[in-house]
Protein backbone atom coordinates (compact mmCIF):
# COMPACT_ATOMS: atom_id res chain seq x y z
CA UNK A 1 0.00 0.00 0.00
CA UNK A 2 1.19 3.50 -0.74
CA UNK A 3 1.94 5.39 2.46
CA UNK A 4 -1.00 7.76 3.11
CA UNK A 5 1.29 10.18 4.97
CA UNK A 6 2.21 11.57 1.52
CA UNK A 7 -1.26 13.12 1.21
CA UNK A 8 -0.74 16.87 1.29
CA UNK A 9 2.89 16.73 0.14
CA UNK A 10 3.93 19.63 -2.07
CA UNK A 11 6.58 18.97 -4.70
CA UNK A 12 9.32 21.51 -5.46
CA UNK A 13 7.90 24.11 -7.89
CA UNK A 14 9.49 24.52 -11.31
CA UNK A 15 9.28 27.00 -14.18
CA UNK A 16 9.01 26.13 -17.88
CA UNK A 17 9.25 28.45 -20.89
CA UNK A 18 6.60 27.95 -23.58
CA UNK A 19 8.53 27.45 -26.83
CA UNK A 20 6.91 28.55 -30.11
CA UNK A 21 8.48 25.66 -32.04
CA UNK A 22 7.02 23.11 -29.63
CA UNK A 23 3.56 24.61 -30.10
CA UNK A 24 3.88 24.33 -33.90
CA UNK A 25 5.14 20.73 -33.54
CA UNK A 26 2.23 19.92 -31.20
CA UNK A 27 -0.24 21.34 -33.74
CA UNK A 28 1.26 19.08 -36.42
CA UNK A 29 1.25 15.98 -34.19
CA UNK A 30 -2.38 16.46 -33.16
CA UNK A 31 -3.59 17.21 -36.70
CA UNK A 32 -4.53 20.77 -35.76
CA UNK A 33 -5.17 22.52 -39.07
CA UNK A 34 -6.48 25.78 -37.58
CA UNK A 35 -3.70 28.29 -38.38
CA UNK A 36 -4.44 30.18 -35.15
CA UNK A 37 -2.26 27.49 -33.47
CA UNK A 38 0.67 27.53 -35.92
CA UNK A 39 0.78 30.87 -37.77
CA UNK A 40 1.90 33.92 -35.76
CA UNK A 41 0.07 36.40 -38.01
CA UNK A 42 -3.22 34.51 -37.75
CA UNK A 43 -2.82 34.19 -33.97
CA UNK A 44 -2.21 37.94 -33.63
CA UNK A 45 -5.17 38.72 -35.92
CA UNK A 46 -7.29 36.62 -33.53
CA UNK A 47 -6.14 38.80 -30.63
CA UNK A 48 -3.29 36.70 -29.21
CA UNK A 49 0.11 38.25 -28.36
CA UNK A 50 1.77 35.07 -29.72
CA UNK A 51 0.76 31.47 -30.53
CA UNK A 52 -1.68 30.25 -27.85
CA UNK A 53 -1.03 27.16 -25.71
CA UNK A 54 -3.80 24.70 -26.69
CA UNK A 55 -6.06 23.27 -23.94
CA UNK A 56 -4.21 20.03 -23.17
CA UNK A 57 -0.62 21.18 -23.82
CA UNK A 58 -0.33 22.38 -20.21
CA UNK A 59 -0.11 18.68 -19.29
CA UNK A 60 2.90 18.34 -21.62
CA UNK A 61 4.56 21.39 -20.07
CA UNK A 62 4.05 19.83 -16.64
CA UNK A 63 6.13 16.88 -17.87
CA UNK A 64 9.03 19.29 -18.52
CA UNK A 65 9.75 19.18 -14.78
CA UNK A 66 13.49 18.82 -14.02
CA UNK A 67 12.54 15.42 -12.55
CA UNK A 68 9.27 14.12 -14.09
CA UNK A 69 9.60 10.98 -11.93
CA UNK A 70 9.77 12.88 -8.62
CA UNK A 71 6.32 11.85 -7.41
CA UNK A 72 6.81 8.27 -8.57
CA UNK A 73 10.11 8.07 -6.68
CA UNK A 74 8.63 9.66 -3.56
CA UNK A 75 5.80 7.11 -3.50
CA UNK A 76 7.99 4.17 -4.54
CA UNK A 77 5.92 3.27 -7.62
CA UNK A 78 6.94 0.79 -10.33
CA UNK A 79 6.74 2.56 -13.69
CA UNK A 80 5.07 -0.40 -15.47
CA UNK A 81 2.14 -0.55 -13.02
CA UNK A 82 1.09 3.07 -13.54
CA UNK A 83 -1.93 4.08 -15.63
CA UNK A 84 -3.29 7.54 -16.36
CA UNK A 85 -6.88 7.37 -15.12
CA UNK A 86 -8.23 10.90 -15.33
CA UNK A 87 -7.02 14.34 -16.28
CA UNK A 88 -8.74 17.62 -15.59
CA UNK A 89 -8.09 21.27 -16.35
CA UNK A 90 -9.66 24.41 -14.88
CA UNK A 91 -8.70 27.43 -16.99
CA UNK A 92 -8.21 30.98 -15.69
CA UNK A 93 -6.45 32.66 -18.64
CA UNK A 94 -4.63 31.65 -21.80
CA UNK A 95 -0.88 31.15 -21.97
CA UNK A 96 1.17 31.96 -25.07
CA UNK A 97 4.54 31.27 -26.68
CA UNK A 98 7.25 33.05 -24.72
CA UNK A 99 5.45 32.85 -21.38
CA UNK A 100 7.30 31.41 -18.40
CA UNK A 101 4.91 29.17 -16.46
CA UNK A 102 5.47 27.98 -12.90
CA UNK A 103 3.99 24.66 -11.76
CA UNK A 104 3.13 23.97 -8.10
CA UNK A 105 2.26 20.30 -7.66
CA UNK A 106 0.74 18.71 -4.57
CA UNK A 107 -0.59 15.26 -3.74
CA UNK A 108 -4.17 15.85 -2.62
CA UNK A 109 -5.42 12.28 -2.12
CA UNK A 110 -4.41 8.63 -2.12
CA UNK A 111 -7.16 5.99 -1.93
CA UNK A 112 -7.82 2.42 -2.99
CA UNK A 113 -10.53 0.26 -4.56
CA UNK A 114 -11.03 -3.48 -5.07
CA UNK A 115 -9.56 -4.37 -1.64
CA UNK A 116 -6.33 -2.54 -2.40
CA UNK A 117 -5.75 -4.11 -5.84
CA UNK A 118 -6.01 -0.63 -7.33
CA UNK A 119 -4.70 2.52 -5.67
CA UNK A 120 -5.36 6.05 -6.89
CA UNK A 121 -3.14 9.08 -6.47
CA UNK A 122 -4.71 12.48 -7.15
CA UNK A 123 -2.32 15.32 -7.86
CA UNK A 124 -3.32 18.93 -8.36
CA UNK A 125 -1.02 21.42 -10.04
CA UNK A 126 -1.48 25.19 -9.93
CA UNK A 127 -0.01 26.94 -12.97
CA UNK A 128 0.81 30.65 -12.96
CA UNK A 129 2.56 32.90 -15.48
CA UNK A 130 5.57 35.24 -15.22
CA UNK A 131 3.26 38.01 -13.92
CA UNK A 132 2.05 35.78 -11.08
CA UNK A 133 -1.40 35.50 -12.66
CA UNK A 134 -3.22 32.15 -12.35
CA UNK A 135 -3.36 30.30 -15.68
CA UNK A 136 -4.90 26.94 -14.79
CA UNK A 137 -5.23 24.15 -12.27
CA UNK A 138 -4.50 20.62 -13.46
CA UNK A 139 -5.89 17.50 -11.80
CA UNK A 140 -4.23 14.17 -12.56
CA UNK A 141 -5.44 10.82 -11.25
CA UNK A 142 -2.84 8.07 -11.50
CA UNK A 143 -4.01 4.46 -11.15
CA UNK A 144 -1.57 2.02 -9.59
CA UNK A 145 -2.08 -1.70 -10.16
CA UNK A 146 -0.76 -3.56 -7.12
CA UNK A 147 0.58 -7.08 -7.66
CA UNK A 148 -1.72 -9.89 -6.52
CA UNK A 149 -0.87 -10.95 -2.94
Amino acid sequence: MIDRRHIGTEMAPFTVEVERGRLRFFAKATGQTDPEYSDDDVARAAGHPALPVPPTFLFCLEMESPNPGAMRELLGLDYRRILHGEQGFVYHRLAHAGDRLTFHQRIVDIYDKKAGALEFIMRKTAVSNQRGEPVAELRCVTVYRNPAP
Partner: protein, 144 residues
Amino acid sequence: MTLARALPDWNALQVGDALPPLQLEPLTRLTLALYCGASGDHNPIHVDSDFARSAGMPDVFAHGMLSAAWLGRVLTGWVPQSSIRSLDLRFTAITQVGERITCTGRIAEKLDGLVRVQLQTANAEGLVKLAGEALIALPCRDHS
Protein backbone atom coordinates in the same frame (compact mmCIF):
# COMPACT_ATOMS: atom_id res chain seq x y z
CA MET B 1 -6.67 34.59 -42.87
CA THR B 2 -9.34 33.23 -40.62
CA LEU B 3 -11.35 35.51 -38.42
CA ALA B 4 -11.80 34.78 -34.76
CA ARG B 5 -14.72 32.39 -34.64
CA ALA B 6 -17.98 33.81 -33.39
CA LEU B 7 -19.37 32.65 -30.08
CA PRO B 8 -22.57 30.62 -30.36
CA ASP B 9 -25.59 32.30 -28.80
CA TRP B 10 -26.46 30.63 -25.48
CA ASN B 11 -30.18 31.26 -26.09
CA ALA B 12 -30.14 29.45 -29.41
CA LEU B 13 -28.47 26.28 -28.11
CA GLN B 14 -30.56 23.29 -27.07
CA VAL B 15 -29.64 20.37 -24.86
CA GLY B 16 -28.69 17.55 -27.23
CA ASP B 17 -27.28 19.82 -29.94
CA ALA B 18 -24.13 18.35 -31.50
CA LEU B 19 -20.83 20.18 -31.88
CA PRO B 20 -19.09 19.87 -35.27
CA PRO B 21 -17.49 16.39 -35.05
CA LEU B 22 -13.90 15.49 -35.89
CA GLN B 23 -13.42 12.41 -38.08
CA LEU B 24 -9.80 11.24 -38.08
CA GLU B 25 -7.86 9.09 -40.51
CA PRO B 26 -6.86 5.60 -39.25
CA LEU B 27 -4.22 6.06 -36.54
CA THR B 28 -0.65 5.58 -37.77
CA ARG B 29 2.63 4.84 -36.01
CA LEU B 30 3.95 8.08 -37.51
CA THR B 31 1.32 10.03 -35.57
CA LEU B 32 2.38 8.26 -32.35
CA ALA B 33 6.05 9.11 -33.06
CA LEU B 34 5.19 12.75 -33.76
CA TYR B 35 3.09 12.99 -30.59
CA CYS B 36 5.92 11.37 -28.57
CA GLY B 37 8.27 14.15 -29.63
CA ALA B 38 5.81 17.03 -29.56
CA SER B 39 4.26 16.14 -26.21
CA GLY B 40 7.50 15.24 -24.46
CA ASP B 41 5.94 11.94 -23.33
CA HIS B 42 8.76 9.58 -24.31
CA ASN B 43 7.27 6.44 -22.73
CA PRO B 44 8.52 3.74 -25.15
CA ILE B 45 5.27 1.76 -24.83
CA HIS B 46 3.73 4.14 -27.41
CA VAL B 47 6.46 3.99 -30.08
CA ASP B 48 8.67 0.92 -29.57
CA SER B 49 6.78 -2.30 -30.37
CA ASP B 50 9.60 -4.45 -28.90
CA PHE B 51 9.19 -2.62 -25.59
CA ALA B 52 5.39 -2.82 -25.78
CA ARG B 53 5.54 -6.61 -26.20
CA SER B 54 8.01 -6.91 -23.30
CA ALA B 55 5.40 -5.11 -21.18
CA GLY B 56 2.75 -7.67 -22.18
CA MET B 57 0.97 -5.55 -24.78
CA PRO B 58 0.35 -6.87 -28.32
CA ASP B 59 1.67 -3.66 -29.91
CA VAL B 60 2.23 0.05 -29.34
CA PHE B 61 -0.92 2.09 -28.65
CA ALA B 62 -1.91 5.74 -28.53
CA HIS B 63 -1.09 8.12 -25.70
CA GLY B 64 -4.30 8.90 -23.82
CA MET B 65 -3.41 12.58 -23.99
CA LEU B 66 -3.32 12.42 -27.81
CA SER B 67 -7.04 11.62 -27.72
CA ALA B 68 -7.43 14.43 -25.18
CA ALA B 69 -5.79 16.84 -27.64
CA TRP B 70 -8.30 15.79 -30.32
CA LEU B 71 -11.17 16.62 -27.95
CA GLY B 72 -9.45 19.98 -27.37
CA ARG B 73 -9.62 20.49 -31.15
CA VAL B 74 -13.38 19.74 -31.11
CA LEU B 75 -13.80 22.54 -28.57
CA THR B 76 -11.49 25.12 -30.17
CA GLY B 77 -13.07 24.35 -33.56
CA TRP B 78 -16.40 25.42 -32.07
CA VAL B 79 -15.62 28.32 -29.70
CA PRO B 80 -12.65 30.59 -28.99
CA GLN B 81 -10.33 28.85 -26.52
CA SER B 82 -10.77 31.62 -23.97
CA SER B 83 -14.40 30.47 -23.53
CA ILE B 84 -13.32 27.07 -22.20
CA ARG B 85 -13.62 27.14 -18.40
CA SER B 86 -12.77 23.52 -17.68
CA LEU B 87 -12.08 20.19 -19.36
CA ASP B 88 -12.28 16.82 -17.56
CA LEU B 89 -11.25 13.53 -19.13
CA ARG B 90 -11.58 9.86 -18.18
CA PHE B 91 -9.49 7.29 -20.01
CA THR B 92 -11.74 4.26 -20.55
CA ALA B 93 -10.10 2.12 -23.28
CA ILE B 94 -6.88 1.93 -25.28
CA THR B 95 -6.78 3.41 -28.80
CA GLN B 96 -4.96 1.02 -31.15
CA VAL B 97 -2.94 1.64 -34.30
CA GLY B 98 -5.20 1.50 -37.37
CA GLU B 99 -8.38 2.52 -35.58
CA ARG B 100 -10.55 5.17 -37.19
CA ILE B 101 -11.51 7.53 -34.38
CA THR B 102 -14.42 9.95 -34.34
CA CYS B 103 -14.52 12.76 -31.77
CA THR B 104 -17.92 14.14 -30.86
CA GLY B 105 -19.52 16.51 -28.42
CA ARG B 106 -23.04 17.53 -27.50
CA ILE B 107 -24.70 20.02 -25.20
CA ALA B 108 -25.57 18.18 -21.99
CA GLU B 109 -26.83 21.05 -19.84
CA LYS B 110 -27.45 24.80 -19.97
CA LEU B 111 -26.36 26.71 -16.88
CA ASP B 112 -26.22 30.42 -16.10
CA GLY B 113 -23.97 31.83 -18.84
CA LEU B 114 -22.41 28.42 -19.35
CA VAL B 115 -23.05 25.19 -21.18
CA ARG B 116 -21.85 21.77 -20.11
CA VAL B 117 -20.65 19.75 -23.08
CA GLN B 118 -20.20 15.97 -23.09
CA LEU B 119 -17.33 14.76 -25.25
CA GLN B 120 -16.02 11.42 -26.41
CA THR B 121 -13.69 9.67 -28.80
CA ALA B 122 -14.89 6.34 -30.19
CA ASN B 123 -13.75 3.83 -32.80
CA ALA B 124 -15.70 2.72 -35.89
CA GLU B 125 -17.60 0.15 -33.78
CA GLY B 126 -18.70 2.88 -31.37
CA LEU B 127 -16.47 1.73 -28.48
CA VAL B 128 -15.74 4.80 -26.32
CA LYS B 129 -12.02 5.37 -25.67
CA LEU B 130 -12.01 8.69 -23.89
CA ALA B 131 -14.98 10.32 -22.22
CA GLY B 132 -14.99 13.89 -21.04
CA GLU B 133 -16.89 17.01 -20.35
CA ALA B 134 -16.22 20.71 -20.58
CA LEU B 135 -17.76 23.90 -19.27
CA ILE B 136 -17.99 26.66 -21.87
CA ALA B 137 -18.84 30.28 -21.03
CA LEU B 138 -21.23 31.81 -23.55
CA PRO B 139 -22.94 35.19 -23.67
CA CYS B 140 -26.73 35.33 -23.30
CA ARG B 141 -27.74 37.85 -25.96
CA ASP B 142 -30.78 40.02 -25.41
CA HIS B 143 -33.30 39.39 -28.19
CA SER B 144 -35.97 41.78 -26.90
